[in-house]
Amino acid sequence: MARPAPTGPVLDVRGLSVGFADGRAIVPAVHDVGFSLAAGETLALVGESGSGKSVTSLAAMRLLPPAPRTRVTGSALLRCRDGAVRDLLALPDAAMRRLRGDEIAMIFQEPMTSLNPVHRIGDQIAEGLRFHRGLHRRDALKRAEGLIERVGIPDAARRLRAYPHELSGGMRQRVMIAMALGCDPAVLIADEPTTALDVTVQAQILDLLKGLQRETGMGLVFITHNLGVVAEIADRVMVMYAGRIVERGGVVPVMTEPLMPYTRGLIASVPRLDLRGGDMVSIPGTVPDPRAPPPGCAFAPRCSHALPDPCDAAMPALDEARAGHLVRCRRWDAIAAGDARGAPVPEVVS
């Protein structure tokens, strides 16, 4: 089921900012985030809790509470099957509903709660096909059976009639994937789809997603805070901190030569089994309160390389340090030069 030859990105997010109303004030949660995603490409969105990665994806799906409570600006251009490019953030509600689950789909972290306990698996998978393809229940169920097989659930005909509580967590996440892929979307947003699963099951789900992506050529936005997963699945990485992109580039340059101190800290804090002894490395401090952001770089208070003059003066811009590798740091070149003089560089984790 190959798609027509790509002509530009399938998803192009530009200048996306999200603010939440808190009383009369608006608390900014995401600032000016932009990225593009080509067909068949996997973009990993990395950052700790509260960095804005989930809000970014929910905003693109238009699943945040409506206008008075949130303010979303920017655009999210989706190239649809008919070749038209539509701005998800500007579409009327009804048109957005037609795209959701059809051209762009999403899966959540928690497969335990994302399935409705009172409906059979088959009916839940068939739902999207009935909404978007106008199929009758029986035809939709037949397609659902095929989908269940495709996501690697054995004994599909029987599983079709099972209730969610009869399946394990990994099986349920497979069901969620089958639901999301029912209408063959151009873009799949996976919000920490493996976080709630066993490590062995995680690997299976990642393999499944990679395999399905090869088959369908869909673009995959993979939200995670697990850098091991990033190395495994991503083509490109976007690191977010305090609602801003702090580093973006190909997976190899970002993982082997991280330029932003935050990314370096993240990579250094991955527990290593091959290095004996030693404490676990962590980044000191916590994410800044979005109501009272630091004056300059948001990461400066936690950064071991921060200097009062450039770092606290103003928010650094997102510079293209190397071709296709963007970093939001005033001192990246000085830090990289320090590395060259012999400071330890964290190794890649794969």
């Binding site: 799906m61 699943l63 509903r97 037609r98 795209l99 959701r100 689950g101 059809d102 789909a105 999403m106 959540f108 928690e110 335990m112 709660t113 994302s114 399935l115 409705n116 306990p117 009172v118 409906h119 739902e127 999207g128 909404f131 978007h132 005909a157 029987r158 009639r161 099972a162 209730y163 969610p164 509580h165 009869e166 969620m176 639901m179 029912g182």
Partner: protein, 304 residues
């Protein structure tokens, strides 16, 4: 059987200790087994079933009409002679009148339950799902209606409307939908924050689809419980209104107006009061016990 595909799993489940075994069975059969463990509820269900059957078929088998007057057989005592439960001051057979009255009372009970459940569910669903100003306005309306003492509201309405089965049903339903609305609103408000509601929206489901198919389906248990208790309340309300003379009018029998009529003969013919009173007690008690049993069976927080 529809669930034969799971047969191996269920056979395996037979070897697990109790709770695990229960957890592997289908939710429906688990609910049934929990209900059956509730003895009073089963007894209540049996009483109601018996009463419905008796009221439906009994009058066809008894050779008297509820309005047939036989002055020679006035105040015949119960369990002696051809009139099993005796006769009243006009010599009308008490048993057939009780059963005919039961038809009316049960009909009003079920019909009022259906109407108030429908109205309450609709209001609660919209209020719970929409929330915000719409939800607040609807729920404050519920509070306002709930503030009226329902007995006086019932009597005030009944005084203005010519009483018959349909109007009495409507009046009782009008004073009984708020409980259901509150139950449903609370359920929906809790359910709509669950991931599966968002997941359905993500699949492109419309608001109405999410409300009815995703949320309401999960609230069916509490709604059934509330509806069962509403039947008991409606039967009691009908008896109350008829007893006070605003409900079903003589000569048509209802449990309430039979009790009213029996007052004058309480000393000389106590069975005229005892039997209708017993019927009301059995019916109301039966529905309340069934409601309790259903609450335990359907509301149990054991399933995932």
């Amino acid at each position: 059987m529809t669930d034969t595909p799971l047969a191996p799993a269920r056979r395996f489940a037979a070897f697990l200790p109790g709770p695990r075994r229960a957890a592997m069975r289908r939710p429906r059969s688990r609910a049934v087994s929990r209900f059956l463990r509730h003895r009073l509820a089963v007894a209540g269900f049996a009483v109601i079933l018996l009463m419905v059957l008796a009221c439906a078929l009994g009058p066809l088998l008894i050779p008297y009409d509820q309005l047939h007057i036989d002055l020679r057989a006035r105040f015949a005592g119960p369990f002696a002679g051809p009139h099993v439960f005796g006769t009243d001051q006009l010599g009308r057979d008490l048993l057939v009148r009780l059963l005919m009255a039961g038809r009316i009372s049960l009909t009003i009970g079920f019909a009022a339950m259906a109407l108030s459940t429908l109205a309450g569910t609709t209001v609660g669903l919209v209020a719970g799902y929409r929330g915000g100003i719409v939800g607040a306005a609807l729920m404050r309306l519920v509070d306002a209606v709930l503030c009226f003492p329902s007995v006086f509201l019932l009597l005030a309405l009944a005084a203005f409307i010519s009483p018959n089965v349909v109007t009495i049903t409507l009046i009782i339903a009008a004073t009984g939908w708020m409980e259901v609305a509150r139950v449903v609103e609370g359920q929906i408000r809790a359910l709509k924050t669950r991931d599966f509601a968002l997941a359905a929206e993500l699949m492109g489901a419309s608001a109405r689809y999410v409300m009815v198919n995703e949320l309401l389906r999960n609230a069916v248990g509490p709604i059934i419980v509330a509806a069962t208790l509403t039947v008991a309340r409606a039967i009691l309300a009908e008896a109350y209104v008829s007893f006070l003379g605003y409900g079903i009018q003589a000569p048509v029998a209802s449990w309430g107006n039979m009790l009213n009529n029996a007052q004058q003969y309480l000393g000389s013919a106590p069975w005229l009061a005892i039997f209708p009173g017993l019927m009301i007690t059995l019916a109301v008690g039966g529905f309340n016990f069934v409601g309790d049993g259903l609450r335990d069976a359907l509301d149990a927080r054991v399933e995932l």
